[in-house]
């Protein structure tokens, strides 16, 4: 078994192509099936770390404060995301509660933490401990973080509630909007490119 450099295989149809050399903003697509082969990342990799740190802050605000509060006949009721998950657990809906917990809190948090842990040493041309495993975890988590879907769910719930009660939007809502934007920007960066950054770092002679 030996490495074949400068070749890409299409993930959609297995066609083999010479590695396309891309300019900034360019995207290479397989002419046979249309699947994306590669895209130029440009300076995106340098923006990841600040975005991830901002994301972590927003994550904290989004989860520490209530999302919505309702007032009905003089009585108040409000919930945080974790609070809603706990209510489900109490109603014998543990499986659903765990799914919500994982897709809206655990996975996005892990994605942010792994990115920060990996990017800090990479900025100094070093590969952190457990790099290979962590990037694989990051790639596997990609389909399962669902903050943007949750965001839409919050909007639907607010409209639903507002027909029968007074609804006060909590401070977490704005943080969730910001987190959605940050995560979308962060995750449009293919974790695969972290490998390329690491390979480049490994190619540098050690000081």
């Amino acid at each position: 078994m030996h490495e074949v450099p400068h070749v890409v295989l299409c993930e959609g149809c297995d066609a083999a192509y010479p590695q396309p050399r891309l300019q900034p903003q360019q995207i290479a697509q397989c002419p046979r099936c249309g699947t994306e082969l590669d895209r130029h990342t440009g300076s995106q990799s340098q923006r990841l770390l600040p975005l991830a740190i901002a994301g972590l802050l927003m994550f904290a605000v989004a989860n520490l404060f209530p999302i919505v509060e309702m007032v009905l006949a003089g009585q108040h009721s409000e919930t945080t995301l974790l609070g809603a998950v706990m209510v489900l657990t109490g109603e014998d809906m543990t499986s659903v509660a765990l799914l919500v917990l994982a897709t809206t809190m655990v996975f996005p948090l892990l994605q942010l933490l792994i990115l920060i842990y990996v990017l800090v040493p990479l900025a100094g041309q070093r590969k952190p401990l457990g790099f290979a495993w962590l990037v694989r975890v990051l790639q596997s988590l990609q389909p399962w973080g669902m903050v943007e879907v949750f965001m839409l769910g919050v909007l639907v719930a607010i409209v639903k509630l507002s027909s029968s009660a007074e609804v006060i939007v909590g401070p977490a809502l704005g943080a969730f909007v910001a987190l959605t934007v940050l995560l979308t920007a962060l995750l449009s960066f293919q974790p695969r490119n972290l490998w390329h950054m690491a390979f480049a770092a490994a190619a540098e002679p050690d000081a």
Binding site: P18, L99, W195
Partner: protein, 231 residues
């Protein structure tokens, strides 16, 4: 036309790309490890069709309770009301929230149904090694992958409603068992889509078109690569 007799695909050249880091290896035996990142190398996703079938059938079974059983139980002083996925949509529609009715109807009803139908079509045609509309089927697969997550919408809505509406004895919402079945459909179809290997659509197909299609103008000093030119 002097098209190569063997299509230049990874499998015909004995090449395997690492699923995680994309490095291409020659003569890698199935299950050996990528020397760069340690991922097990497979020419095709392991047992792709069997896994996709199993997950898809499980999702089809769960689809029935997901739509028949209540997903939300609302109780107030006067009455107790149960809602299924579709009755929730109808409620939005009759109260005049048409935009929202459409969003929820699409995310909770159309998308899961579309996903189930599309995956069935993909897995059946791949199993029969059909050559029918290969590139459209690949597009279909990408759409299924892209939209799958949005069906979780109703799960999140029910979670939030159950979390916030709990003014005891006055207005209380609890989650119905239907939401667990619905969540199972979403997760099972997502897993089914992840198990399906789109390259199975193309196995046995003719040679691919010559050059990589690059969006945007190509600078003069960087000509497109087209070693496999057929002209």
């Amino acid at each position: 036309m002097s098209a190569p007799s063997t299509p230049p695909t990874g499998s015909s050249l004995g090449l395997t790309a690492c699923h995680h880091c994309g490095t291409v290896w020659k003569d890698a035996s199935n299950g050996s490890r990528c020397s760069h990142c340690g991922t097990a190398l497979h020419q095709r996703k392991a047992h792709s069709l069997q896994r996709t079938w199993a997950l898809l059938l499980a999702a089809l079974v769960m689809y029935i309770p997901a739509n028949m059983l209540p997903v939300m139980v609302s109780s107030s002083l006067i009455k107790t009301q149960t809602d299924t996925i579709l009755s929730g949509v109808i409620y939005f529609w009759v109260t005049g929230a048409w935009g929202l009715a459409v969003v929820v109807f699409v995310a909770s009803f159309i998308v899961p149904l579309f996903k189930l139908a599309a995956l069935l079509l993909l897995v059946i045609t791949a199993q029969r090694r059909s050559s029918w509309r290969r590139s459209e089927r690949t597009k279909l697969y990408r759409i299924v992958e892209l939209i799958g997550r949005w069906s979780m919408l109703d799960v999140f809505v029910v979670t939030l409603m159950a979390g916030v509406v709990r003014i005891e004895g006055f207005a209380e919402i609890t989650a119905g068992i239907g939401i667990a079945a619905f969540a199972a459909v979403v997760v099972l179809t997502m897993l089914a889509a992840l198990s399906f290997d789109p390259r199975l659509i193309w196995d046995g197909a003719d040679a691919p078109a010559p050059a990589v299609h690059i969006s945007e103008p190509i600078p003069a000093d960087n000509p497109p690569h087209g070693q496999h030119s057929q002209s």
